[in-house]
Amino acid sequence: MTTEAMSHSSNTPEQPRLSMRRICKRFGATQALQDVSLEAYAGQVVALIGENGAGKSTLMKVLSGAHAPDSGTMLLRDQPYHPRGPHDARRAGVAIVYQELNLAPELSVEDNIMLGVEERRLGFVARRKQRQRVLQALELLEHPELTPDRIVGSLSIGAQQLVEIARALVSQAEVVVFDEPTSSLPAHDVERLFTIIRRMQGQGIAIIYISHFLEEIREVANRYVVLRDGRPAGAGLLTDTSDEAIVTLMVGRTVDTLFPEVPHDLEERVLEVQQLSGTPLPRQVSFELHRGEIFGLFGLVGAGRTETLRQLFGLDQPSSGCITIDERRTAATPAARIRAGLGFVSEDRKGEGLAQSMSITDNLTLSNLRSYTRGGLLQLKKRRQATLHWMERLNVKARDPEQTISHLSGGNQQKVAIARVLHQQADIFLLDEPTRGIDVGTKAEIYRLIGELAAAGRSIVFVSSYLPELMAVCDTIGVMSRGRLLDARPVLNWTEPEILKVAISS
């Protein structure tokens, strides 16, 4: 309802270049998209906004042909559009610049740009003709590093992203999607990207811009569409809508219920980090953590927060500095740090956090298997009992402890990852983006759990890029920028604008 009403008022005379109407997509028990509509007009930027897990990526996968929608219609230039895969979409004029770059690092800039759309003559690559098209595209991008023969792997991340954009340009794309394009870019590259987007707009390309950074969206986009839990939450013109209104649409509930408060007290020091440095990150990070403390670590992507946690846990070796746990120093290996009472939840659940082909039981007990051995053999029944206990405690929804973990939803997987750290009886929890990519309900459960842990005398380092959750949950917030921990204060002495200011300073 709101979607349609708003788009009518959005003052666009012509027909949309692309229109997705009432798209539905279901995966097993999860309704990933429900009646979602999106329109993109030539020469305009529409922002697709929503929290992680709101359905933005799924919608774009439907657009690119990676998933077929269960129902709904898609029109491109008023023609029915049913891509059978990314290549099909690209030929139809829809290009997507992904957050994780999809480049062949060993090939040259030209080869990457023309991959799959090579100029051919009798089966051979028509180099000269191809070179012209590549140079044309690169001209629009205007980047000193970008020459056709340069090997892509040797380029900076920002320049690599431009190669992806050049791909879209050479294939004459009429609709270009940017999927969180700034998340791994340094500030000056972000500015350059916005300039390029404006130029593409000038060429009449319809642009879909996905992000959850409101400032960015205001700078670059004309209209917005908000998704929440796979459903349309609102849409309209950015000039007509306040930031608060958009955030309310994104979260869809009052902040009180999202962040349950659990009273807890700070006691003696349990962890001291002095001048911790690594190559290249972090740089001379120092802080203290106390029993019962929730220490938030904020910063933009690339600020060095994850690196700090990994070195604390012994996964990476620091180049200098000193880590003292309970006034003792230990070997810098995960095994030694686990024995010292540390527990780590990785930000990369699929790649590192969980062994996707193993069962819930195996994943949950893996860091503390020895507690089930008798005479060198595992007591499987006891292990199953313990798994059931923790699944119940954290409200993990699964059929059976022996179920393969990859069959669970993201939120339930994350609960198992956290349960593993509880199971190994850690005293200090290092949580790296623990609420990323999980639904709002599970987020609230995890916030409560973190509070309860602190109340039980555990300590938590909570890394997040989502400031509201840190402000609501933490006792102390430290802000990192370019590898340094610039400032750490009790949460009451911070305001959100102050934190952001520190985070983007250098």
């Binding site: 996964l315 969980l354 059929r399 059976d400």
Partner: protein
């Protein structure tokens, strides 16, 4: 109501899972029945004789033992291309020592140690230098071959029959003596293989080391995160695998009473095939004792069946190849269906 439904669904799921783990055995049964039938129609009915099954078992046992070692390695996400030449190196050491008047105990000990050392070399190179197992073992494959040739002095080592202790002979005897009493008259080597299989199964299911193998093969980063010592575990699995591969070397020596290093070339592919037919995944994290045993037996049955039916050796090779591809295709098909469910 809902809870009743889920319990029913649970027990059905578990029954389904149990059936799936028996799938390789089912395939073995089909292949055996197929040959038995074909033999009744076109052959001379010798395939189904008890004596023939003794032969099949004796021939499958060495492949099975080495393939069990390979199973451990593949579950941990590794591969051992040197297994064939390593196992022949062990046989050569044994033969060379027996023919130069060493005691049987010393010779067997040295042969098994050789297997373990081969594994240790592989494990250390893989763990310390972080070179992919495929490359490391591709290199050690020819290294072990070269070493074996030196030990053999350039040609096949023959051993005088009188020097062969009876028990080593019996290991692969198709007509074992009756001393085994209450045990069926099957070669002692087959019983040893069964015992090893049981041991490996217990290691995989009930030991911390076993679970760590699955974890490393499934996701090495996760294993590291959980405090598992990757280096030790990897070295240990290659040593253990090497030991089993060494035992397989004893079997092959006892079968032919001589050792020719060149015979080992390509044998590793048979071991790997047994694991893969049995449902092991070369991506790591998957594999089972029952599957590997069935895989080794299927290849044995095909070899024997083709011999009885006087089918050409070439046909036999083609059949095994088809079975490998069919097994993996079926497996992937099933995995995909599970993921979509």
């Amino acid at each position: 109501m809902a809870s009743v439904d889920t319990t029913q669904k649970n027990s059905r799921d578990r029954l389904w899972q149990a059936l799936q783990s028996l799938e390789p055995l089912f395939a073995l049964l089909m292949v055996t029945l197929g040959f038995a039938l074909a033999d009744q129609v076109w052959g001379q009915g010798r395939f189904s004789e008890l004596r023939n099954f003794r032969v099949v078992l004796v021939q499958a046992a060495p492949v099975a033992v080495a393939a069990l070692g390979m199973t451990l390695i593949i579950i941990s996400g590794g591969i051992d291309l040197s297994a064939g030449t390593a196992s022949m190196l062990c046989a050569t050491v044994l033969a060379a020592m027996l023919s130069s008047d060493y005691s049987i105990t010393a010779a067997v000990t040295c042969a098994l140690l050789t297997g373990a050392v081969c594994g240790l070399v592989n494990g250390l190179l893989i763990g310390l230098l972080r070179i992919p197992p495929f490359i490391v073992t591709l290199g050690t494959m020819t290294i072990f071959l070269g070493v074996a040739k030196r030990v053999a002095g350039g040609s096949t080592v023959f051993v005088d029959r009188q020097r062969m202790p009876q028990w080593l002979n019996d290991l692969s005897s198709t007509m074992p003596p009756d001393w085994q009493g209450w045990l069926p008259r099957i070669a002692s080597g087959v019983w040893l293989a069964a015992a090893i299989a049981l041991l490996v199964a217990v290691i995989l299911r009930y030991s911390v080391f076993g679970r760590h193998l699955f974890a490393i093969g499934s996701n090495e980063s996760t294993a590291r995160l959980c405090g598992i010592n990757i280096l030790t575990t990897k070295v240990l699995v290659y040593v253990l695998g090497g030991l089993l591969i060494g035992i397989a070397g004893l079997y092959s020596f006892s079968l032919v009473k001589m050792a020719n290093p060149v015979e080992g070339i390509g044998r590793e592919l048979k071991f790997i095939a047994a694991v893969v037919i049995g449902g092991g995944s070369l991506n790591g994290g998957r594999g089972s004792v029952l599957g590997t045993l069935a895989g080794a037996a299927i290849m044995g049955v095909i070899a024997s069946g083709c011999a009885q039916l006087e089918i050409q050796n070439s046909t036999q090779d083609i059949m095994i190849g088809v079975i490998i591809i069919a097994a993996v295709t079926l497996d992937q098909f099933r995995t995909r269906r599970q993921e979509n469910a």
